[in-house]
């Protein structure tokens, strides 16, 4: 078994907080009408934050770098764990979104919903919030591998600005389509989602590379 897989196992069995798994359930918020459902993505990230915090309290980073692995492997493992949780939450949200876009397109609370509806744009925003977390929080954490207060506060501020912007956007004349419930056949909406997938993959990849370089410079 490769070190990267063993380290992901270590993240899951030893470093992870149960809250990381529990908070995946916030992806179910995609069902709630009249609520800023993107906040669910923020809570998923908050769950991952709990694991980083628990890891720090349990000397997880020191334990990891003392194992016969490289420091870069330790960084990759944290990113892999975060992406795993994010993808599980995304999968839950994607299933709910598909249900809403196929079976519930005419459901009154959703059709008249003044807040964000679950559609491809919502999934795209969700991915952007995850990318933001990986970039701002995880990338920031590995500057010291110890201090995470500032990176997390920065993530909170930027993610809430993004949530507000996403809620405002579909009220702007001409952009109402971003909140439609019947967008299953919309090429524009699928393109928006595809673009978000691309952006989040690139941002996370670059952030991980930067974090590896930062962590290499850290004295334990």
């Amino acid at each position: 078994m490769k070190n990267s897989r063993k380290l992901l196992g270590k993240e899951i069995k030893l470093a992870a907080s149960p809250l990381s798994w529990l908070f995946i359930s916030f992806a179910l918020m995609a069902f709630i009408p009249g609520y800023p459902i993107l906040v669910g993505a923020f809570f998923v990230c908050f769950g991952i934050f709990q694991s980083v915090q628990s890891g720090r309290e349990n000397n997880d980073i020191l334990y990891t770098v003392l194992l016969p692995v490289s420091k870069t492997d330790a960084v990759k493992a944290k990113y892999r764990f975060a992406v795993l949780i994010e993808m599980l939450a995304f999968a839950v949200s994607a299933i709910i979104t598909m249900i809403r876009m196929t079976l519930m397109t005419q459901t009154t609370p959703y059709v008249t919903n003044p807040m964000m509806n679950a559609n491809q744009a919502y999934l795209a925003y969700m991915l952007l919030i995850f990318a933001l977390f990986n970039w701002v929080f995880l990338g920031g954490f590995f500057k010291t591998a110890y201090k995470f207060g500032f990176p997390f506060v920065l993530f909170i501020v930027i993610s809430f600005l993004l949530i507000i912007a996403a809620e405002v956007l579909h009220h702007i004349p001409g952009l109402e389509f971003l909140n439609r419930t019947d967008t299953l056949g919309s090429t524009t909406m699928w393109t928006i989602l595809a673009a978000a997938v691309g952006i989040s993959v690139i941002v996370t990849f670059i952030s991980c590379k930067v974090a590896m370089k930062r962590f290499e410079r850290v004295d334990m």
Partner: protein
């Protein structure tokens, strides 16, 4: 006997402290004490040889291999235990072990069970339920179960009661007889009287001496400095105090 660890001209510069020109060698089956006052540079030396911090200069080789180039290979063959550090304090020992062992190609479950029994460790307990002495024993068990040829221990006897300390030093001697080399830092000189073959004495980041303990004590005795390590350390460190207040 083969050289297990060779440190040459190790240097680490901090804004207010410099560890300078530290050199020493450890052979198979040797117990070396790394001594010095608090803040002398013992932990910095240990962190440097574990590649936990970036050195400003010098060469570190394990089993003839350069540390920077063969880090993962070297870590398969060494074990580390910090005195007060515990990992995953609320996880059961058996869970920690089940993960840890997957990283070591030479992990031996029979050896693991043997040391768990010998040290009277219960794998259903969590590290938070262990005393300081038992934590050190757990770290030793983990290191010995993957066949570590060198144990690097940072103040393993600090915080231990006299009986546990004596017991631990006895364990060191038994392990050394089996060919395991041990490097342990301490500021408790009586620990070294009981088990160390050699010492590396660091004073304010500078190497004061590195070699066999009997040679050092003989030399200091002939110079009228002292007859025990404690007397010698007090002589050197106190001399400075006198200069300061002069």
């Amino acid at each position: 006997m083969g050289t297990v660890l060779s440190v040459k001209n190790l240097r680490k510069e901090y804004p207010k402290f410099t560890l300078n020109n530290i050199s020493f060698e450890i052979e198979e089956g040797m117990i070396m004490g790394l001594i010095g006052r608090n803040g002398a540079g013992k932990t910095t030396t240990i962190k440097s040889i574990l590649n936990l911090i970036h050195t400003s200069g010098g060469d570190i080789e394990y089993f003839g291999m350069n540390l920077a180039e063969h880090e993962t290979e070297i870590k398969q063959q060494i074990g580390y235990a910090g005195g007060a550090v515990d990992y995953y304090k609320k996880k059961k020992i058996k869970k920690i072990i089940s993960v840890t062992k997957t990283f070591y190609s030479d992990w031996n479950d029979d050896e693991y069970r043997k040391y768990m029994e010998l040290f009277e460790l219960d794998e259903d307990k969590t590290p938070s339920e262990l005393s300081e002495g038992m934590k050190v024993k757990l770290n030793l068990t983990m290191a010995l179960s993957h066949g570590a040829k060198l144990l690097i221990l940072d103040e393993p006897t600090s915080g231990l009661d006299p009986v546990s300390r004596d017991e631990l030093l006895e364990i060191f001697k038994i392990l050394a007889q089996k060919g395991v080399a041990i490097l342990f830092s301490t500021h408790i000189t009586s620990d070294l009287d009981k088990c160390a073959d050699s010492i590396t004495y660091i004073k304010k980041g500078q190497l004061q001496f590195s070699g066999t303990m009997s040679d050092y004590i003989e030399k200091c005795k002939s110079e009228g400095i002292g007859e025990t390590l404690e007397e010698i350390m007090i002589h050197y460190e106190k001399e400075n105090l006198h200069e300061k207040f002069a």
